[in-house]
């Protein structure tokens, strides 16, 4: 009886989470899929989505890992406030995040003018897409990397220091290798979150269209039938990359 009490709600949730995705794949028409595969606009938007999210993840990795390490290891005034502030993009509505980004990096803003002078514009451009994805998804990477560093005892770095390692060397040879799975998991979450972003991207950079924007536009203009192949392709690309990264990570883990 107890098992049934556990199983029924669990099975319901699994069904709810999996059925729409599996159903979409199963019900998609091969002909429409083939057409979508030959449609340069669809391929371009899927490619742009994967690329922009990849770049934003790379920026997140370069800036987020040092931040996560500092938050994990150092104590300083207002640290709690800073940690809360970093998580803000996770809770604000994404359309509002897009508006905030537009106000900060738009053509008439201070940063927009300064960076525009250097040839970097964010409104309706790929850098704008990257910026929007970075803003809404970097907190996921920072949280995951911090948790990973928290699990590495600082004592272990201390021992590495007594064995002759500089702080830099102790970080690269001890802390980072021990935290890398958490960091990788954070990267994957950030990348996936970037791909699925719509609200912030659509405000800052409607064009060039990422897959979510194209999906939205086709759904609005032509209906479900035309939106489905785009969704299927985007999901297939994400799932393929996700499985590949997980397998690569599993192989590396097996080597240790």
């Amino acid at each position: 009886m107890w098992h049934i009490v556990l199983l029924v709600p669990a099975a319901l949730l699994v069904f709810f989470l999996c059925f729409p995705i599996v159903g979409m794949f199963v019900s998609s028409e091969p002909l429409a899929l083939r057409e979508a595969l030959g449609d340069p606009e669809v391929l371009g938007s899927v490619g742009l989505t994967l690329y922009a999210s990849g770049i934003s993840t790379l920026i997140g990795l370069i800036t987020g890992v040092p931040l996560a390490y500092i938050l994990s290891r150092k104590e300083f005034p207002l640290k709690g406030l800073l940690e809360g502030a970093i998580k803000l993009p996770m809770v604000v509505p994404h359309l509002a995040a897009g508006v905030a980004l537009l106000m900060t990096f738009g053509r008439d803003s201070f940063f927009g003018r300064v960076l525009g002078g250097l040839g970097l514009k964010f409104v309706s451009s790929v850098p704008g897409t990257v910026l929007a994805m970075l803003f809404v998804s970097a907190p996921f990477l920072v949280a995951s990397a911090k948790e990973a560093f928290d699990r590495v005892p600082p004592r272990m770095e201390g021992v590495a220091r007594t064995l002759g390692a500089s702080p830099w060397r102790a970080f690269w040879t001890v802390s980072l290798p021990l935290a890398w799975r958490g960091i990788l998991s954070g990267c994957l979450t950030m990348w996936a979150r970037g791909i699925s972003e719509f609200g912030a991207v659509v405000v800052l950079a409607y064009h060039p269209m990422v897959a979510s924007t194209l999906l939205f536009e086709r759904l609005e203009a032509y209906g479900l039938k035309y939106a489905q192949p785009v969704a299927v392709l985007l999901m297939a690309a994400c799932l393929g990359t996700f499985v590949w990264v997980q397998m690569a990570a599993g192989r590396r883990h097996g080597e240790h």
């Binding site: 005892p153 004592r155 272990m156 201390g158 021992v159 590495a160 220091r161 007594t162 064995l163 002759g164 390692a165 500089s166 702080p167 060397r169 040879t173 001890v174 290798p177 021990l178 240790h256």
Partner: protein
Amino acid sequence: MVSIEGVRAKMGEFVLGGIDLEVGEVEYFVMVGPTGAGKTVLLEVIAGLRRSDSGRIYLDGREITSLPPEERGVGLVTQHQDLFPHMTVLENVMYSPKVRGMREGEARRRAYEMMELLGIRELSERKPSTLSGGERQRVALCRALAAGPKVLLLDEPLSSVDPPLRRSLREELRRINRELRLTVLHVTHDREDVFSLADRVGIMMDGKLIQCGRVEEVVMHPANSEVRELLR
């Protein structure tokens, strides 16, 4: 030789010091005290992992108070061993020779030499997670020795080892102290370590060094009833 002069360190409510202590060359000094006495903090201050608020520390006459841990020439074996779990035993032991700039082959030779000394060569390809408590302790000791320290700091090195194994590990520690002519500062709460290992003993309580001297002196003339109780 290690000289500690008036070392103080404050951490929240806890205050260490001021500690004055001298551990002679090739001496095996055991610092004993109850949990929370500040023994680990003292070792961390000597190793450079924690800053002291005042006082000076000398190693063989050279002041090391403000040097970073990697430049002190002090080896540390922690209570939890802290072996690097992503490396094999051999890689753990090779870590110090490699970060100190030895070539791969030379570092490997050095590591094998130390592993022979501790009788753990057959563990070389094992991962720390597959080792027993005693094996882990030997590997941690071997890794610290491969760094060629002038003084070895041992933090409760036998606490995670089963009692029957402790005796053989104690013999091992004494042998290393003599064979490598190494100064050892060993902190413990186990009175048995004092009687089996110590040339001299120090008693620490509430962050202060209460008494220091040859084992028989301290046993015969304890500074107070708490010291008597601790060594009974």
